[in-house]
Structures are given as structure tokens and as C-alpha cells.
Amino acid sequence: MAKEHDRARTFVSRLLANPALGPLTPLQREEQIIQFLHVNAAALAPTLSTPGFFPGASWSQSLSLLLSALVEEVDVTLMPRLEEILARMQFGFVALLRPQSSGGERVRDQIREYLRGVLRRMDARRVMTGPLAAVSYGFVDRYCDQMWARKGYSHFELTKVQRLRLGREEIKAMIEATLLLKPIVCSGSSATAGLAEHASGVVQAQYAERVVAAAREALSLAPEELIRSAANASVSFQENRYIEATARMAAILSWRCRSYQPNMRADRGADSPDKSWLSVARRNYRFYGFDVKMIDELYSIAAENGW
């Protein structure tokens, strides 16, 4: 069995090293490989059951071996990446939201532990793909700085409607924390069923309420606003018009970055990647449950900046 496990790790590590996946984040690579294995099952199964790989194993056994090896291999780069991200994030906003709270450092540690736990679940890893890319590639900084310069709809929603009495940097940190906690929606026994409701990953508002209640214990030091924002990042704005602006922003950025390719260049005659994605998102806003006015503003920002 150990020999087969080693073979599986060798196989997936070589898959992960494929240059086509080079520029992607660890979870994007993982998702690509999982899709690849599923789509090419018929072609891979005969070879993988040969003595060179997993002799006599059925496809589901082979797949199970490969997936567990894949998670192990991806975690080798994913966990340090998460550590790095959490280490550079400023949790000062926690104290500003809850003056009596126990401080940012302890919240950081709790989030770290929470993520380590929840990311053992495949559905949570899938949800985390977009947020990890969004935070890794600085999407929050990129768009929030422009939103502050414009002082338009999104800025108003964050500061006046959501009433965040925070500075720009603190709000950016809160959106990043919301993104990182987006897999919160997978916590709880019925989480997968909730996710499966909609192809776009949208869950019902009532379900999100249950998630918030369940997460309070695991994230006891985190402010309620952050937990609620993270849970509502998977709720459709069409269903609940009172969703926090940070949650709406996180929902858009996590979907944007799920398929983000940092080295992608627009062909001659094509619009830039962000502008293209946001233009499509404007037409699919109901499907994904996005706030169309926020999308419009992000689209204008992307168009003005050639993103």
C-alpha cells in the first residue's frame, strides 16, 4: 500500500510540475488535476491498473489514491502560502470592530487553525480556490484603491451602508479575511448539500445563518461581522439585499479569481481579461447572485485601467 501511495505521489507531483499549470496557485492546480482525472477516467483507468501503478485496483480505488496524494502534495505548497498570506495580513480591524476583543494576533492564529481544519475537505478546497488566488494576486488592493479614489457606489456601500468605521487598509484587510474564510460555508454536516443547490456555489440565506451559528464556536475570537460576511459571501444578493458590501465584494473577487491566469495576455482584438470577465459577470449577475451595481463599478475600473 505504501508503495502504491508513493507511486501516486510521484504521479501527481509530476502532474503538478507540468508547465501548463506553472503560473496557477496550488489550489487552481489541484482543481485542474481533479477535473483532468475525472474527464480522462476512461483513458487513464487501464494504464493506472497496470503493475507499474496500482495493479488490480479499480478506477475508484486509483482515483482515491491519487486524490489523497494530490492533497498531500498540494498542501506542501498551499500551507506555507497560507502562512505567508496570514502573516502579512493586518488584523487591526478586529480591534476596531470589537474593542473588547482579544486582539488580532489571536484571531490570526484561530483563523489559521480553522483553515487547516476546513481545508481537509475537498469541497472547502474548491471554494478556497478563488479566494486564495484573489488574495495571492492582490485583487483586493487593486480594486479597493480605485474604489476609494472614485468614492462611488462600492465605497458608499462599504462605509455608509455597512457602516464600517474603518480606514481603507482595515477594510481591505477585512475583505481579504472574508475571502479566506469563504470556505466557512462548507463547515457543518449539511454544508455539501447546501453548496450543491446551485452550480454557482450560491447557498440560501437561511443556510448561511446556520453556518454562522455553527462557526461561532470554531472562530470564537473573530468578530461576528467577519463570520457573517464570510458566510454571506456565498449568498445571492438577489435573495438578500442586505448582504454586507464586504461579502458582495468577496463573492465577486473569488469568482473572478477562480479561473484567473496571471500570465494571460489579451490577443489583439480582444478585451483585457478583467474587463472581459466583469462584462460577462454583468450578464450573469443573477446566476451568481452578484450585486450588479458593484460589478458595474468594477467593470469601469477595469476598463479605465486596462485590466
Binding site: 507540468n18 507499474g52 479561473s259 491566469q261 489579451a266 482584438g269 470577465w277 462584462s279 460577462v280 450573469n284
Partner: protein
């Protein structure tokens, strides 16, 4: 084999570049009144290039024939341009001119009457316009866009414009020649004919030929010989050796009198016209290459390329940029449908099925083989 083919293709490109320089300098030298020596070099270079392109054409024709694609080569791959820009030039332009120089006199032209000499000279100089067709060969080798469709369309427009221009110039030249439409040449011919009539009349009357008086009347009269002895020369021998080539003069005989005429003003006039055609064609092709070709790519091939990628590649979802100015073009109407209907649909489908990835079975074939 590929290296050898690439060598010959590069050699042809170099030859085309040379022929452009040579074509320009050949006419410029005449207009600028260059000495004969450099013009002689240009003449031989021109002949060598014409022979080179004739051999190239015959070789291509031969290989297309043995591959049973002569028709494709001749009509679709512009073999007819290769033909027009090679063999007729050897036979009508550089060949006769070089032959005249090799023979050391104006034998090729001199046996005919002066009128015929002028007609032959005119035909030769008009034929030189065909050289400009070689610019199209350069065009065919410039690839400023990846799209074969753009290349073909722009090449077609270029071929049509240049061919129409050259054919019109040649046709009008022939028509004007047949109907004796007044020109510098006809005026020149008329003056010389009058002069020869005077000489003839003097000879009939037995009156002496006053060469000085003839030279004063006709500025193109270079020299007069009587009974093989030069009785008048406008310039000294050194000047003739330095400045005047075999194609620069013609002669006519009346009795024992031989008169030499300067053809350089006529040649200069034709070369000036050739330079104008050259400039028109260079500017036409340049504008097609640098103005029309990008426009064609922007409004036709680029949007098609983006849509093709969007339809065939699961991970590609960039929108087609629709310029406001051309938004009502059929291509951009299609592009708008692609942007507004196809891409959102594809995106929803992709979210539902989670397809679209960068790995293929080809990427892992090595792993499986190991």
C-alpha cells in the same frame, strides 16, 4: 532539404531587394544624367537579375508541373506575375540593351530607320515598368499579420491595383504610340524628320551640307559624318566615352551623310515617368501594408480569431473588442452576439460542469509511458 529551400527563398528575397534598388537607380541615373560607367554597371546588374528571375520562374513552373499543380501556381500563387516580371524583360528590355552594349555600337537598333529605333526604344522602356511587378513578390514575403486570410486579401488588393496601374500605363503607351499622340517623342521625331528632309534636299540639289547650321537648328544632333569622316561633333571624344552609352543615341543615314542624334532627352522623359510609377506603386503597397492591412486585421481577422479561440478553447473567455466606429459591421454584430450571448452561456455552463482546463492527455503521455 528544408535548409536548402530556406536558402533559396532567402536568396530570392535578397534578389528582390536588389531589384528594387536597381530599378530605382536605373531610372534615377538617367534622370540625374549619371556618367555611362555606373549606368553600364546598373544595366548588367539588371540583366543578371532579370535572368535570375527568369530561371526562378522556369524552375517554379517546372516543379509545379511535375507536381501537377501548374494551374495553381500560375493563377493562384501568382505565377503569372513571376512570368511578366522575368522573361519579357530579358527579351524586351535588359537583353536588347545589353546586347547593344556588348556589340559596342547601336547595331541592334541602328540598322532600322530612326523612327523605328525610337519605337523600339519606347517599347523597351515601357517594358521596364514590368519590373515594378516584383514589388508584389516582396509583398508576398512580408508577413505583418498572422492571418493567412488577411495576407491573401491584402495581397489580392495589392496585386489588382499594381497590375491595373502597370497594364494601363503600358496599354496607353502603346495606344499613344499607334495613334501618334503628341508627346516629347513625337515632337522630337518631327524635328529630326524635318532635319533629315533638309539634308535629303541638299543632297538632291548637290548643295554642300552645312553641319554647323544643322547643329544650330537641332540641339539633339550630336555628330555628322560624311564619307566616314566626322565633319561635326558637338562634344569631344572623351565626353562621348564618359557620358554616352550605346542606348543614348541613334543614327540615320542619307546618302553618304550619317547623322547621330542624342536620345537622352527622350530616355530621361521616360525614366521620369517610370520613377513616378515606381513611387506610386511603392506608396500604394506601403499604404496597403501599413494602413489597410492593420485595418483589415482590426475589423475582420482579429475578431474572428478571438471568437474562434473562445469557441474552441474551454479556458478562453475574453470578449471581442468592438470599436464604436465599426459596431454596425456584420463581423462586429456577430462579435456582439458572441460577447453578449455565447460567453455568458459558456460561463454558466463552465460553472455548472467545472470544465475547462489546461492539461490534456498529451501532457501526461510521458508519465503513463514511464
Amino acid at each position: 532539404m528544408e535548409h536548402r529551400q530556406s536558402f533559396w527563398e532567402n536568396l530570392v528575397v535578397v534578389a528582390i531587394a536588389l531589384v528594387l534598388i536597381q530599378t530605382f537607380l536605373d531610372d534615377f541615373a538617367v534622370v540625374a544624367g549619371w556618367a555611362w560607367a555606373p549606368r553600364e554597371v546598373l544595366l548588367y546588374v539588371g540583366l543578371a537579375l532579370d535572368v535570375f528571375f527568369s530561371v526562378e520562374f522556369l524552375t517554379r513552373l517546372y516543379f509545379s508541373f511535375i507536381r501537377r499543380r501548374t494551374g495553381i501556381y500560375f493563377w493562384h500563387e501568382r505565377g503569372w506575375i513571376d512570368l511578366l516580371a522575368s522573361l519579357p524583360l530579358v527579351l524586351l528590355s535588359s537583353g536588347p540593351a545589353a546586347l547593344a552594349v556588348w556589340s559596342g555600337s547601336t547595331i541592334a537598333l541602328g540598322r532600322a530607320s530612326l523612327l523605328n529605333v525610337l519605337k523600339v526604344v519606347k517599347a523597351i522602356r515601357i517594358a521596364r515598368v514590368l519590373r515594378l511587378l516584383r514589388l508584389l513578390k516582396v509583398f508576398a514575403r512580408i508577413r505583418n499579420t498572422d492571418s493567412t486570410m488577411a495576407q491573401r486579401h491584402v495581397a489580392k488588393v495589392a496585386t489588382l491595383s499594381v497590375t491595373v496601374l502597370i497594364a494601363t500605363v503600358m496599354l496607353l503607351g502603346i495606344v499613344f504610340s499607334v495613334f501618334d499622340v503628341p508627346s516629347l517623342e513625337t515632337a522630337y521625331q518631327s524635328r529630326i524628320t524635318t532635319l533629315l528632309s533638309t539634308v535629303e534636299a541638299d543632297l538632291d540639289r548637290g548643295a554642300p551640307i552645312d553641319a554647323g547650321e544643322l547643329a544650330a537648328r537641332e540641339s539633339s544632333l550630336l555628330a555628322v559624318q560624311r564619307e566616314g569622316r566626322t565633319v561635326f561633333s558637338r562634344f569631344d571624344s572623351d565626353y562621348y566615352a564618359r557620358q554616352v552609352g550605346p542606348n543614348d543615341y541613334g543614327f540615320a543615314e542619307r546618302g553618304d551623310v550619317r547623322l547621330f542624334f542624342d536620345l537622352r532627352p527622350v530616355n530621361r522623359d521616360q525614366s521620369r515617368s517610370n520613377l513616378i510609377y515606381f513611387a506610386i506603386i511603392v506608396v500604394t503597397i506601403g499604404s496597403l501594408l501599413f494602413a489597410y492591412s492593420p485595418h483589415f486585421a482590426l475589423t475582420v481577422t482579429d475578431p474572428l480569431h478571438v471568437m474562434t479561440r473562445g469557441i474552441t478553447e474551454a479556458n478562453y473567455s475574453l470578449e471581442v473588442k468592438v470599436p464604436r466606429l465599426y459596431r454596425d459591421d456584420e463581423v462586429f454584430e456577430l462579435a456582439r452576439a458572441y460577447n453578449e450571448h455565447y460567453l455568458p452561456l459558456k460561463d454558466r455552463r463552465s460553472a455548472a460542469s467545472a470544465d475547462g482546463f489546461d492539461l490534456s492527455m498529451d501532457d501526461v503521455q510521458g508519465l503513463l509511458d514511464d
